[in-house]
C-alpha cells in the first residue's frame, strides 16, 4: 500500500474520509446489515490514467494477494463495484476519452472509463451513433456496461453489447496486458458480464452506426393482455424498433402524480416505441403503427410530441424516487410472453403485503425483457426498512415463477445463482475464474458463490421470516 501511495502521489489515498465514499454504490443498504458482515471500506483508492499504470497496480496486488475492486460509474445496486474484503479500489474514471473512429469499419475505439453519453455526444456531430446504450448512459462507463450483461436501449435491434464489441484491452490479475478478440484465448466473451472478476478492461473497440432520424410512438392500454399482444405485433413486424419500453398502470399513476406524465396516461399501461432509420423506413413504420392500432378504440395513440417527451426522459426513470424518499425493488430478466402473468402476480403480491408495486422495463431481445419492479419505502425507519428488504425476494420469487431471474449478480444476488445459471454453466464460469485468477484477488465475493450469510437456504429462511413478520405486523418503511 505504501508503495502505491508513493507511486501515485495525489492520485492515491488511504484517508478514512475519502475511502468511505467508495464503500457504497446506488444500493441504500443500512450499515447495520453491511458492516458486521463485509469490509466495504477500501484500504486504498488509486486512480490510474492508463493501462500501464493499471497493470502496475495489479502486479503489486498479485504479488501481495491484495483484493482489487474496479470501479467507474458505480451506477449499479448489487455492490458490483464495492469491495467486500477491503483492499484496493481502482477508480477507472481517468481512463477516459475516445481514441479513434474507423469510418470504413464503422468502429470506435474508446477508453473504458468514458461514459456512454459522452461517447454518444462525441459521435453524433460526426454523423455516427451508438448501436445501443444503457438507460443509465450519463453515468455508466463503457467498460462497466460490458462487464455487466450489456442489454438496454437499442439492444432489441442491434443485439447485446457483446455482439458489438470487436476487441478489448484487458489487464489480467497478474498484471499482464492483453488485446482480446473472439478468436483469442481467452476470448473477449469471457469478460462480458464477468463483473470485473477476471481482470480490468481498459479499452474497447465497438461497432457504431450512422446517425439516423427517429420516430416515436406512445400507446396506452387499459389491459396488460392487450399490451402484450401489441408488444408481440411490434416485435414480429418486419421493421424492428430501436427501443421498446413499457410501464404498468402504477408507474403511469406515480409519474402522473409527480407531474412527469400526461394526466391521461393514468390508469393505463403504456408502451413507448422508438424507431430509427431512413425516412422511407420511418414512413413504413408510421403506416404500420396506424394500421396495427389506429382503428382499435381500446388503445390510445398519443401525439408524437408526448412520445418524443418519453424518449427524451429515457435516462430519468429514477424521477420516481421523488415519491419515496427511498425505493427498493428487483430487476428481472423476464420472458416477454410471461409479462402479463408476472404483472398479474405482482399485483396479487402487492395486495397481499399492502405494497404499492410499480413495474416498468425494456424489451431487449425478441424473447426477453428487463423488468424493474419497485416500491416506496423509507430507509430512515431502520426496523421497517429491514422488513421491507424481504419484499425484494418476494419480487424475485414472482419473477422466477414466470421464467425470470435477477439481471446482474454482484454480491446481493448471489443467493439466486442457482436461478441465474445452470450448474454446468456456473461451473464453467468458476473454471474460467480459476484459470485467470487462481488467487481470487479480482473483485472477490462477487458472482461465483454466495457468501456464508447469503447462502440460498439461510437467505430464504431469513427473508421468509422477515416477510412473515412484516405481514403479521403490517409494518413497512413507507408508513
Amino acid at each position: 500500500m505504501e508503495k502505491l501511495k508513493q507511486q501515485f502521489g495525489v492520485r492515491a489515498t488511504d484517508s478514512l474520509f475519502e475511502c468511505g465514499f467508495y464503500s457504497r454504490d446506488m444500493a441504500p443498504v443500512p450499515s447495520l446489515l453491511v458492516d458486521p458482515l463485509f469490509n466495504t471500506r477500501p484500504d486504498i483508492v488509486v486512480r490510474p490514467v492508463d493501462a500501464v499504470e493499471t497493470a502496475g497496480i495489479l502486479k503489486t496486488a498479485f504479488a501481495d494477494n491484495i483484493p482489487i475492486t474496479p470501479r467507474a460509474g458505480a451506477s449499479t445496486v448489487y455492490f458490483n463495484s464495492v469491495p467486500v474484503k477491503g483492499g484496493i479500489v481502482i477508480d477507472l474514471n481517468l481512463i477516459a476519452g475516445i481514441e479513434d473512429i474507423d469510418e470504413a469499419a464503422m468502429t470506435v475505439t474508446v477508453r473504458a472509463g468514458t461514459t456512454w453519453l459522452e461517447l454518444e455526444k462525441y459521435l453524433n456531430p460526426l454523423g455516427f451513433a451508438l448501436k445501443s446504450f444503457p438507460s443509465s448512459a450519463p453515468a455508466a462507463s463503457i467498460g462497466g456496461w460490458f462487464s455487466m450483461m450489456g442489454y438496454g436501449i437499442g439492444s432489441i435491434k442491434y443485439g447485446s453489447l457483446l455482439s458489438q464489441v470487436q476487441s478489448i484491452e484487458v489487464i489480467l490479475p497478474t498484471g499482464e496486458c492483453r488485446w482480446l478478440t473472439n478468436d483469442t484465448k481467452p476470448p473477449l466473451a469471457w469478460f462480458a458480464a464477468s463483473e470485473g472478476t477476471l481482470g480490468i478492461i481498459t479499452r474497447l473497440t465497438l461497432e457504431i452506426r450512422r446517425l439516423s432520424s427517429m420516430k416515436h410512438f406512445l400507446l396506452a392500454f387499459t389491459d396488460v393482455g392487450e399490451m402484450r399482444r401489441a408488444l408481440e405485433s411490434i416485435i414480429n413486424a418486419p421493421v424492428v424498433p430501436y427501443n421498446l419500453h413499457f410501464a404498468d398502470k402504477r408507474y403511469a399513476l406515480a409519474m402522473q402524480s409527480l407531474g412527469f406524465s400526461p394526466s391521461d396516461t393514468a390508469s393505463s399501461c403504456t408502451l413507448g416505441i422508438d424507431y430509427e432509420g431512413s425516412r422511407a423506413e420511418l414512413d413504413i413504420v408510421q403506416n404500420m403503427i396506424i394500421r396495427l392500432f389506429g382503428d382499435d378504440r381500446t388503445i390510445r395513440l398519443f401525439p408524437e410530441e408526448e412520445a418524443r417527451r418519453e424518449w427524451t426522459g429515457k435516462f430519468n426513470a429514477l424521477r420516481l424516487k421523488r415519491g419515496g424518499p427511498s425505493v427498493l425493488g428487483g430487476e428481472i430478466w423476464l420472458p416477454v410472453k410471461t409479462l402479463p402473468g408476472y404483472l398479474a402476480d405482482i399485483k396479487k403480491k402487492a395486495d397481499c403485503y399492502g405494497l404499492d408495486l410499480i413495474s416498468y422495463g425494456h424489451v431487449v431481445t425478441r424473447e426477453r425483457a428487463a423488468v424493474m419492479t419497485l416500491f416506496y419505502t423509507n430507509e430512515t425507519r431502520i426496523g421497517s426498512y429491514i422488513l421491507d428488504l424481504a419484499m425484494v425476494k418476494k419480487i424475485h420469487d414472482v419473477g422466477y415463477r414466470h421464467g425470470g431471474w435477477p439481471y446482474g449478480v454482484g454480491l446481493w444476488n448471489t443467493p439466486y445463482l442457482g436461478r441465474i445459471f445452470t450448474l454446468p454453466y456456473l461451473n464453467e464460469l468458476r473454471l474460467r475464474k480459476q484459470m485467470l485468477d487462481g488467487r481470487g484477488i479480482m473483485n472477490p465475493g462477487k458472482l461465483y458463490r454466495a457468501p456464508f450469510f447469503l447462502n440460498p437456504v439461510s437467505f430464504a429462511v431469513g427473508m421468509g421470516t422477515l416477510a412473515a413478520v412484516r405481514r403479521i405486523t403490517g409494518r413497512s418503511g413507507r408508513r
Binding site: 492520485r11 489515498t13 484517508s15 474520509f17 475519502e18 465514499f21 467508495y22 457504497r24 454504490d25 446506488m26 483508492v45 486512480r47 460509474g73 458505480a74 451506477s75 477508480d91 474514471n93 481517468l94 461514459t115 453519453l117 459522452e118 443509465s136 450519463p138 453515468a139 435516462f315 430519468n316 426513470a317 429514477l318 424521477r319 424516487k321 421523488r322 419515496g324 424518499p325 427511498s326 425505493v327 423509507n378 430507509e379 430512515t380
Partner: protein
C-alpha cells in the same frame, strides 16, 4: 425570455434521501472534473449530508466534508443533470447555512462576513468610494444618486472596486448616456447585494443588506433597476421579493436592457469583424434563465461571426469563479477556468464575451496564462466598441 427549470425543494433532509446516487451529476461537475475524488461529486456530498443531517450523525461533520462543501462554484450544472430532479444548488446553499449555524464554516467565510459587515462591500475599500471608477467618465456626476430617474444602475462590488472590472460600468454608463437613458445609481449607499453572505451560509446577515438596498431604491423612487452582475441580479430577482413586496420594481440584467435599447433603435452598431463566442455565466444562465438576450446582442452587431462553445446554454461549463470558491481554494478555481479556456481555444474565437464581471476576470487570467490571442470582454464593452 427567462427559461428556468423550476424544481421543488422539499427540504435538505428529504432531498438528500431522494438522491438515488446515480452519478449523473458527476460528469457535469467542474469541481469533480478537477479534483477527481468521489467525495467531490455532488452525489458523494449528498450521501455524506444524508448521514450527517438526515440520519442525525452530526459528529461526522468533519473538516474534510466542510472543505468539500466549500469547494463548489454553485454553478448548478449538477441540478441540470439530476435524474431525481433535486435542486442541488439550493441543497448546497442550505448545507452551507447548516454548517455556518454550527460554527464550522471555513475561516475565509468568517473573514468575508466580518469584512462585509464593516465595509458593506467585498473589498477593503470604504463604501464611500463606490463611484471611484466613474471619475473616468466625461461627466462623473451622472451617477450621483438622483430621485425619480427612470433607471437605477446597480453596479455591484466587483465592478465598483476591482480595477480590472471597471471598464464594464464605464461602458454601461457611456452606452446609457449615448442612448439618452435617464439613469442614476445608489452611489455610496449601494451595499453589497448580499450574495456572498447567502453563498457562505450567512442568510440572516444577508437580509440586512437586501433590506438596505431595497429601502434606498424605494427612497429614490426608482422603478426600473438594471444590474450588470448576474449574482446581484439573481438576489434582486429572487431573494429580494419579500423586501420588495408592494413596490413596483422592474428588475433587468444589462443584457436584457441592452436588447431593449437595440430593439428600440437607440443604439447604432457598426461592424466588428471578429469571431466571437459567448460564455454563459452560471448565475445568469442556469440560475436566472437568461440565455437569449446576450446572444441577440452579439448577433445584432454587423460583421461578427458568432460561434458557440462546445458546452453552452444549460450545459455551459463554469468559469470557476462562482460560489466564493476563490476565497477558499483559488488554485482549484483557476484549474476550472483552464477547462473553459480549452473550450474557447477549440472554437477559434478571437473574442470571448460574457456578461459577468467575475467570469470575465477568471477567463482573462486563464487565457492569459494559456497565452491565447483572445480578448475577454463584457457584452457591454463589445456593444460600446460597436458604437464607437
Amino acid at each position: 425570455m427567462r427559461e428556468i427549470i423550476t424544481k421543488p425543494f422539499t427540504g435538505m433532509e428529504d432531498e438528500a434521501l431522494i438522491c438515488g446516487r446515480c452519478g449523473y451529476c458527476r460528469s457535469a461537475c467542474p469541481v469533480y472534473n478537477v479534483v477527481g475524488w468521489e467525495s467531490a461529486t455532488p452525489r458523494g456530498k449528498i450521501a455524506k449530508a444524508k448521514e450527517i443531517f438526515s440520519q442525525g450523525k452530526q459528529t461526522e461533520l468533519s473538516a474534510e466534508f466542510v472543505q468539500r462543501m466549500a469547494q463548489c462554484t454553485l454553478c448548478g450544472a449538477c441540478a441540470q443533470e439530476c435524474s431525481t430532479g433535486i435542486d442541488t444548488r439550493k441543497m448546497w446553499l442550505e448545507l452551507r447555512k447548516r454548517i455556518a449555524a454550527l460554527g464550522r464554516e471555513p475561516k475565509a467565510y468568517k473573514a468575508l462576513r466580518d469584512n462585509l459587515q464593516e465595509k458593506k462591500n467585498i473589498s477593503n475599500f470604504s463604501n464611500d468610494e463606490r463611484l471611484e471608477w466613474a471619475q473616468d467618465l466625461d461627466d462623473p456626476a451622472v451617477l450621483k444618486p438622483r430621485a425619480g430617474a427612470a433607471v437605477g444602475y446597480f453596479v455591484g462590488c466587483v465592478s465598483s472596486f476591482f480595477p480590472q472590472a471597471a471598464q464594464v460600468p464605464l461602458a454601461i454608463a457611456e452606452i446609457f448616456s449615448k442612448a439618452g437613458v435617464d439613469f442614476t445609481s445608489l452611489g455610496g449607499e449601494e451595499w453589497c447585494c448580499g450574495f456572498p453572505l447567502i453563498s457562505t451560509g450567512f442568510v440572516d446577515e444577508a437580509r440586512q443588506f437586501i433590506r438596505h438596498n431595497v429601502d434606498k431604491i424605494r427612497q429614490l423612487g426608482i422603478h426600473t433597476l438594471v444590474a450588470s452582475c448576474p449574482s446581484c441580479y439573481s438576489v434582486w430577482k429572487e431573494d429580494s421579493r419579500e423586501a420588495l413586496q408592494g413596490y413596483d420594481l422592474e428588475i433587468l440584467h444589462t443584457t436584457e436592457y441592452l436588447v431593449r435599447l437595440i430593439k428600440e433603435g437607440r443604439l447604432s452598431l457598426q461592424e466588428i469583424p471578429e469571431t466571437v463566442t459567448y460564455h454563459d455565466p452560471c448565475d445568469l444562465g442556469r440560475t436566472s434563465g437568461i440565455y437569449d438576450a446576450p446572444r441577440e446582442i452579439i448577433r445584432s452587431i454587423p460583421g461578427v461571426r458568432f460561434v458557440e462553445l462546445p458546452h453552452h446554454r444549460e450545459q455551459a461549463l463554469c468559469c470557476g469563479g462562482g460560489g466564493t470558491l476563490q476565497s477558499v481554494d483559488a488554485a482549484l478555481a483557476a484549474k476550472i477556468a483552464r477547462l473553459r479556456a480549452g473550450e474557447i481555444r477549440s472554437v477559434g474565437a478571437t473574442v470571448v464575451v460574457s456578461a459577468c464581471q467575475q467570469c470575465e476576470q477568471m477567463l482573462t487570467a486563464a487565457v492569459r496564462e494559456a497565452k491565447m490571442p483572445v480578448r475577454v470582454l463584457d457584452v457591454s464593452q463589445l456593444v460600446l466598441e460597436a458604437m464607437d
